[in-house]
């Protein structure tokens, strides 16, 4: 038995597929691909899959990571990639299969690009002023509906504005995670700038030292 790490892009129409639905989609693609995948041995046997960092509904990504296990250790990563490529729908793109270097709990940050129709000078100034604050407390609704107060500023690792695109590197992982939507909602709430529509693309998953997660 061996673990393999699968890298894929989730684009276009796939952005409307939630994380839970994504697990079902992946399990079918893997089954269809015929790779010698390992099944859990519990009461309800299913394909073992571990998604590094769930992606919110509506976001696109060029760097999704999923770990699975193979029964056959001699089955090469190239073979796995080819098999997956042969079954994927248009808006999922498998682009690499590697041996995992670090466990997913080592994930520290995630980079997002937020594209607006227009970022005018007023909004741009407000953004710079907002990111420069020492602390911004906002209310975050947890999984069980519990509301807790968090300071988002320390969780924003880097930020930049280029034309109509905001690039944010935010704390990410299973222990602590900041969603770019929460950053923007808080920004609009705090500054009185009128909210406008933007698309979100995840561009990188980084480890705790800020290097590419492998």
């Amino acid at each position: 038995m061996k673990n393999v790490r699968i890298y894929f892009k989730k684009l276009g129409r796939m952005k409307f597929v939630s994380h839970l639905d994504m697990t079902r989609v992946m399990s079918r693609l893997i089954k269809k691909s015929g790779i010698p995948v390992w099944y859990t041995e519990g009461f309800n046997r299913h394909i073992y899959m571990n998604f590094a960092l769930p992606l919110s509904l509506g976001f696109e990504s060029v760097c999704e990571i999923m770990d699975i296990r193979l029964n056959d250790e001699s089955f090469s990563n190239e073979e796995t990639l080819e098999a997956l490529k042969s079954v994927c729908p248009p808006d999922i793109e498998f682009f690499a299969v590697c041996d995992p270097v670090k466990p997913t709990k080592e994930i520290g940050f995630s980079e997002y690009k937020l594209e607006f129709d227009e970022i005018d000078s007023k909004m741009s100034t407000a953004l710079n002023e907002f990111f420069a604050r020492e602390s911004v407390i906002c209310e975050k609704v947890g999984k069980k509906g519990k509301v807790k107060e968090v300071d988002i500023i320390p969780k924003i690792h880097t930020h930049s504005i280029d034309g109509n695109v905001i690039t944010l590197t935010l704390v990410a992982g299973s222990e602590d995670n900041l969603n770019p939507t929460l950053v923007m909602d808080t920004f609009f709430d705090n500054t009185g700038i009128i909210p406008t529509f933007y698309t979100v693309l995840r561009t990188a998953i980084l480890d705790k030292s800020g290097n590419e997660f492998e």
Partner: protein, 614 residues
């Protein structure tokens, strides 16, 4: 609409995956290279429509032809409908996102009466006039099929063509005729007239209905020399008929999210309340080899890990055990589970239980339908209490601890005694569990009793029967509730007003068209969804059009009355239905098709169980 704007709107509604398209195995073609574009519409949500086998079959079959591009359309949920109307977004097909008003055909499948307002709403959302007579030459041909097409009269004013019976052959014959008419520059009217000569095609505008003073029908007359009766179509050879080699695999979870493998059509049983048991006659099976090959192929092309065998009564498949053995030989090693819905109590053997135990264990469901032997004889549900108890014993000793039982309330001749029988049967099952020395240790038993309301349907022996009134439905539900004395039994029942409306529409005639139109205008849609259904709006719609709904639902119909569906022929003769109705009132059963032929008329098709050796 530009992609970005479209996606922005999608992100503002619940479950955008319902409308995004792009699923695995969905079919994309070059619209310039096809002759016919067909919008296959299911008048309910994506999750329900995508679970339906008929749409899967016809979608793949149409698309197997290079000259046709068939796309899927589902009823947008109310939140998305609001967004669409606010943004002037016409109803579109999932694959191309093109407006369906520019297609050649718009086809609806009519699975239940409560979806009728959704049919009209979808036409309206498409930007088309809902009445056939208001749609000009350059608008799509609106067609409809499915079980409700056996009495399509309430929709007669809105649909150009109804297909009676199974669609695999007749649909394509009509499409071919359409291509020819288009090439020769024929008008829509000329096309419809020509289509009416194809067997199984019913063009409602070519039939005239006249009424008596008392509101019943006096005469149904064909116009322009079309046939006087329209006969349903069936597929004669189930092994050679088209079956998909792939299903569209949805991204979001749907109701039946698995491979559905059809094993036969029709049912030998002839339960007298069951419309499917009559309109799909005669029984025709697929061979074991065909079933096995098709199921395997579908698993490979979809990646599903579950197969459900589909038919009206799975255990009546002549080779059920050899089939299960064959399937298990490859499903087991591949971690694919088998589901066997529609099992009957009387032939549910130890071996069969052993086989399904092999796979994932879900609850056991039985449908005794009535609480006493007398009433089960009336409805011809030939199972005995002893068989039910025996089966439960088998199941309990096999480790099952929960049993679900389906019953109907309001069946013809039903008394309070019969209702008490439902509660008593539940109690006996609970007692049986506790009397067993080898029951699963340390576990309690749960019996859920689900009670629906009987709705008399066309082409059944009960088509003549009055439906009990809403008030009476509620009284009987209360009475039944009072008879249940243990918490091991849970009881659930259907909303009485939905059943009433279903009863009206099921045996309705053309005069209900204007009621549907009024109901639509007052906001009725998704009537099978309790959060949307509003009986008062419907009662107002009946009232506004001077129509008494009780006339359709609660009246005893004489045997010689001309029913709204009298000109439609489903093989089963009216004289047989009359005979069966009389036998029912005599509390006598009728043997199933394999025991003895009862001469229902379906043998006219020259195929199936009617010609098996007995």
């Amino acid at each position: 609409m530009e992609v970005k704007n479209f996606e922005r709107l999608l992100l503002s509604v619940q479950k955008p995956g319902r409308y995004s398209g792009g699923e695995i195995n969905s079919v994309i073609k070059d619209k310039e290279k096809v002759d016919v574009r067909f919008a296959f519409c299911f008048p309910d949500t994506y999750e329900i429509g995508m679970s339906h086998l008929g749409i899967k079959i016809l979608y793949s079959q149409f698309n197997s032809r290079d000259d046709i591009w068939c796309e899927r359309v589902f009823a947008p949920w109310t939140d998305f409908e609001t967004v669409m109307r606010e943004n002037n977004m016409p109803l579109f097909a999932l694959e191309s996102r093109d407006p369906i008003k520019d297609f050649d055909f718009i086809g609806f499948t009519l699975q239940y009466e409560m979806a009728y307002t959704n049919v009209l709403n979808m036409l309206d959302l498409a930007g088309l006039p809902i009445r056939s007579q208001d749609r000009g030459d350059n608008t799509p041909i609106v067609v409809a099929g499915g079980p409700c097409a056996c009495n399509p009269e309430p929709l007669a004013d809105f649909i150009d063509i109804f297909f009676l019976g199974e669609g695999e052959e007749v649909d394509l014959e009509v499409i071919d005729l359409y291509k020819e008419c288009k090439k020769n520059g024929k008008t829509k009217k000329e096309f419809l007239r020509a289509a009416a000569d194809i067997e199984g095609v019913y063009v409602p505008s070519l039939y005239n209905i006249r009424y008596n003073q008392d509101g019943t029908i006096s005469e149904i007359t064909p116009k322009d020399g079309v046939k006087t009766t329209v006969k349903k179509r069936i597929i004669k050879d189930m092994d050679s008929v088209y079956y998909p080699d792939k299903f569209v695999v949805p991204f979001i979870e749907i109701v039946h999210d698995r491979v559905v493998q059809e094993i036969f059509r029709g049912c030998i049983r002839g339960c007298r309340f069951c419309q499917a048991g009559f309109i799909y006659r005669p029984v025709r099976e697929k061979s074991l080899e065909t079933v096995n090959r098709q199921a395997k192929c579908l698993c490979e092309s979809t990646g599903y890990d579950e197969i459900s065998l589909s038919s009206l009564s799975t255990s009546d498949y002549t080779e059920i055990e050899p089939l299960l053995n064959k399937l298990l030989s490859w499903t087991d090693p591949q971690n694919i589970s088998l589901a066997l819905p529609s099992l009957r109590i009387d032939n549910f053997s130890d071996e069969l239980l052993e086989k399904i135990k092999h796979v994932r264990k879900s609850g056991l469901t039985f449908a005794p339908e009535a609480g006493t032997q007398r009433l089960r004889d009336v409805i011809n549900k030939n199972v005995t209490e002893e068989e039910i108890i025996e089966t439960c014993k088998t199941a309990f000793s096999g480790g099952y601890t929960s049993v679900k039982l389906y019953f109907m309330l309001g069946l013809p001749t039903e008394t309070d005694e019969d209702l008490k029988g439902i509660a008593d049967l539940g109690q006996k099952i609970v007692d049986t569990y506790y009397s067993m020395p080898n029951k699963p240790k340390g576990k309690s038993v749960s019996v859920s009793i689900s009670v629906s309301t009987f709705v008399p349907k066309p082409f059944t022996p009960f088509q003549f029967e009055p439906q009990i009134t809403e008030t009476e439905i509620r009284r009987r539900q209360e009475y039944l509730k009072s008879q249940i004395k243990t918490r091991k039994i849970s009881l659930s029942y259907h909303d009485s007003s939905t059943s009433f409306l279903e009863g009206v529409l099921a045996r309705g005639d053309r005069r209900l068209g204007k009621v549907l139109e009024t109901a639509l205008k007052s906001g009725c849609r998704f009537d099978s969804w309790s959060e949307c259904f509003d009986l008062q709006k419907w009662l107002d719609a009946f009232n506004a059009n001077g129509i008494d709904p009780n006339f359709y639902a609660n009246r005893l119909r004489e045997y010689d009355e001309i029913n709204p569906w009298e000109h439609l022929d489903y093989g089963v003769t009216k004289s047989f239905l009359v005979r069966e109705n009389q036998t029912a009132h005599g509390e006598k059963t009728t043997p199933n098709c394999r025991e003895k032929c009862s001469g229902c008329g379906a043998a006219c098709y020259g195929e199936g169980v009617c010609f098996e050796k007995r």
